[in-house]
Structure formats: C-alpha cells, structure tokens
C-alpha cells in the first residue's frame, strides 16, 4: 500500500529525532564523556553562535562553491568518458586501461600531488573533487551505455537515420538510470573530498572549520560543522532526486521502490 505524504515525512524524520534523543540521553546520563561528545543542545548553541558571527555563511558558501564546481566538472568528464568508452570499441580499448589505473589511485592520496602541481588555492581543491567525482560516473555511464538493448539501437536505425538523434534521444536517455546512480555516488564522494581538501591550505569552508575546531578543542563547533556538512550533502542528494523526478519522470517507473 502506498504511504501517505505525512507517513513518508514521519518515516524520514522519526529516525533522525530518535538519534538526537539518544545522543542527548547518553550525554546526560554520563555514558560518554561530554567533553568529547557534547550534547546536541550545546552543538545547536555553537551553530547559532557561528551563524551570528557571519562566518557560517562564508564557510558554507565557500564549501558549496568548491563542492558543486568539483562535482559538476568531474561528473561532466565522467559522463563524457563513459559514453566514449561505452559506445566506441576503439576508444574503449585505448582509454579503459589508463582510466582503470587512475581509478585505482585513492583520491585522498592524490591530494599532495595536486597541491604540488596546482598550489594550495581553490583550483587544487576543485580539481581533487572533480578527480574523485569523475570515476563513479565514468564506470556507471560506461556500463549503462554499453548495455543498451540492441533492439533500441536497431529501432532507432529504422525509425531515424540520424546518428545525432540516436545519440541524444536513445543512447543518453537509455543510459540515464546508470548515470543517475553514478551521480549519487559522486555526490557522497565529492563531500568526502571537500572535507579532505579543506584540511590543507584553507582559511574558510566547512572542512576547514571541522579541522580547526578539533585543533582548538571546540568539539561543539566541530560537531556543528560536521552536521552542516552532512545535511548539505543530504540536501543536495534530495534536490537532485527532485530534479530527476521532475525532468525524468520515467526513471521513477523503472524503480522497484
């Protein structure tokens, strides 16, 4: 039976409220040291204080800008590479071995190399996020575009002689479910890389705030920054889902749940 909107909302919110309540209880009853894990009330106060100082907006904006730019650039490159290797046998033979080697490099371990080449500015941060975001999309787009049923291509060949039409109206939409799955993985990976890239050479950003609050033993602010980073990634995923639902309603129909 389909769930009502209210039920859906309750199913989504109740676990979050449960975790917050549990968190408050374990601190109040001294199950954990409140100096190491501050209660949610204290974390909330730290977020308000951070917002009142005006820094929260700057940190948030800086991180969002870096994260989204890296995600979009990396995704565009990943999708393009996936379509090339997925649909062209020669390019697959040429590019896939090289890309597989790069894919095996942990993006976090590549960061010092990017800093050496591009410095500690925004460029190396955005570049490292793009690097990390590109591979899930390359793999997913490759798999999606290379496994399009032959009947789709044959139908397109009979119904429309144009290769451009086939590419834009058949190959891309038929790969879309895989691209969407890859993009959602890339969102999560981008935010991991955002945090890591802001550990070095940053003066603003949510990742920077997590790291500097930890060093200054402001655990309440550190948890606050972590929560905002997590919420932001989650909101972007939610927004992406809404966009997909609006522009590609058929994707929903192909899902089991």
């Amino acid at each position: 039976m389909p769930l009502s909107k209210l039920n859906k909302l309750l199913y989504s919110i109740l676990p979050v409220l449960g975790v917050i309540l549990l968190w408050q209880l374990v601190v109040v009853f001294d199950i954990v040291n409140s100096a190491l894990i501050p209660p949610p009330t204290k974390v909330f106060k730290a977020i308000i204080e951070w917002a009142n100082s005006g820094d929260l907006f700057i940190d948030f904006y800086t991180s969002i800008w870096r994260g989204i730019s890296g995600l979009l650039i990396g995704s565009a490159i990943g999708v393009l590479l996936g379509l090339l290797t997925g649909r062209n046998q020669k390019l697959n033979l040429i590019l896939t071995p090289v890309l597989n080697v790069f894919k095996a490099f942990p993006p976090v371990a590549m960061l010092p190399i990017f800093i050496t080449f591009f410095g500690i500015g925004d460029f190396s941060k955005v570049f490292s996020i793009s690097f990390a975001a590109a591979f899930p999309l390359w793999v997913n787009t490759h798999l999606g575009s290379s496994s399009i049923p032959i009947e789709f291509i044959r139908s397109a060949k009979l119904l429309s002689q144009s290769r451009t039409t086939t590419f834009f109206k058949i190959i891309i939409p038929a790969s879309m479910s895989s691209i969407i799955a890859g993009f959602r993985i890339s969102i999560a990976i981008s935010f991991i890389m955002l945090y890591v890239s802001e550990l070095a050479g940053a003066s603003h950003g949510l990742g920077y705030q997590i790291s500097s609050s930890h060093l200054s033993y402001r655990m309440d602010k550190m948890f606050g920054a972590l929560i905002i980073l997590g919420l932001t990634a989650s909101m972007i995923d939610l927004l992406f889902n809404r966009i997909i639902k609006y522009f590609f309603p058929w994707v929903q129909l192909n899902r089991v749940m």
Binding site: E151, S155, L158, P173, A174, P249, W250, L253, N254
Partner: protein, 238 residues
C-alpha cells in the same frame, strides 16, 4: 500479379563459425502476408534481422520500400510517452502534421486516452499495440513482426489477432511475421515458410478465403492444415 518487394537469393548467415542460414531463396510479392514458423534456433529471427539489414550476410537480398519492425520484446523507448514513441520515426513532416499523424495512429490502435502514458504504465496488449503503431506510423511498405504476441496471454493474443486482421485489411502493406503459434500463422498468412535445417524446407500456401475471422480455426480443414504444418516442422527430414 503484384510485384516482388522482398527477395533473397543464395542468402547465408553465420555468427562467427556457426552457420545459421544457408542458401535461402524466396520471393515475396506486394501485399502478401508471410508467416515464418519453425522450431527454436532455426533462424527465424535471424532471417528477419537480415532482411532488415541489421546483421551481415552473404548472398543477395532485395527489399523495396521502408521497413517497419516490431521486436519480440516490443523495444518501446521507456523514457518516451506513447505519443512520443509513435512520433519518433515521423521525421518528414512539420510539428503540426506530426501531431495529426500520431493522433490518427493512436485512434487506429485504440489508445487515444493513453497518449501521455509511459510504456511501463500499460498492459502487455496495449504495449504491443503501441509497438505496432510505432512500426506503422511512418507508413512502411513492409512490416516485419518478430513473435509480436509471444509475451501475451492467450485471451489478449486472440484479441490482438482480431485487431491485426482488421488492420491489414485496411492497409496496403506486405507483412512478414515470425511466430511459434501455428494458429496465428494460418489465420493471418497467405503463405507460411517453414524453417528447418538452416533453410526454408517448405512453403505452404494458405488458401482459406478472405476476409478471415478466428472462427476458421474450428473448421476441419483448418485443423487438418495445422496438423500437416506441425508434422512438417517436427518430422520432415531435411
């Protein structure tokens, strides 16, 4: 006599070292309905795919006119609505005319109310009707149907046969239909090709008077014909 619109001379097809069809020869005339029957793996789908120029072959194949193709698993584009699927192949007219043609096809396949539905929202019979509608929307001269009703239940299949009988009587079109169901072939076809041993082992003319209805399947003559056809598929040495 009608002109020959599809012909094959010494047609052979192989997948790598595995030969599927060898030295096939036939001629099909305009407005003929050809049923292609045979056991699984005898190359029925391969024959249609060859005539539609989907796969490489040896020999001569001549197909005169546009081809409409309806695949075994319908192959509707699931990201397009019913109307978009039908309109996809209509490229030679402007937007307004295209809309008109799509509306006409929707009426013909009796799915006017479903224009904005996605294929996943339709029943098996409706999906197959859209697939046929799409194959016919740009007025092909030759329609190739690869087991178009195989995924349907027996009641829907009977409805579809009635629908196709009505449709072909209205259209000036040549049809080649691969099927496992001998009833289907005998009700619809003018001639039946029996594929066996990598070749067309028999060509059976179906002489039941037209227009036909499904009622002919209960006649003695039909049952006799079906039995003969079945024995040709199962026991004929070739």
């Amino acid at each position: 006599m009608n002109e020959v619109v599809v012909s094959a001379k010494n047609l052979s097809v192989a997948y790598g070292n595995n030969s599927v069809l060898e030295n096939i020869n036939f001629e099909i005339r305009n407005r003929e309905f050809i049923g292609i029957v045979g056991k699984s793996g005898t190359g029925k789908t391969t024959l249609l795919n060859t005539l539609a120029n989907f796969i490489n072959y040896k020999g001569d194949v001549n197909v005169q006119g546009n081809i409409g193709f309806c695949f075994q698993n319908h192959s509707l584009f699931y990201w397009m609505t019913v109307a978009e699927n039908i309109g996809f192949g209509i490229t030679h007219v402007n937007g307004k005319e295209k809309k008109g043609i799509v509306a006409e096809v929707l009426k013909k396949i009796d799915l006017e109310k479903y224009a904005n539905y996605y294929p996943k929202e339709l029943s098996g019979g409706q999906t197959q009707r859209v697939a046929l509608g799409r194959a016919m929307a740009y007025n092909p001269q030759i329609l190739m149907l690869d087991e178009p009703f195989s995924s349907l239940d027996i009641y829907t299949r009977d409805q579809m046969i009635d629908w196709v009988l009505k449709l072909i009587s209205e259209l000036n079109i040549t049809v080649l239909m691969v099927t496992h169901y001998l009833d289907e072939a005998l009700i619809l076809a003018d001639r039946v090709f029996v594929l066996k041993g990598k070749n067309i082992s028999n060509v059976i003319p179906v002489t039941f008077p037209k227009p036909r209805t499904q009622a002919i399947r209960f006649t003695e003559e039909f049952q006799k014909c079906k039995q003969e056809l079945s024995s040709l598929i199962n026991h004929n040495n070739s």
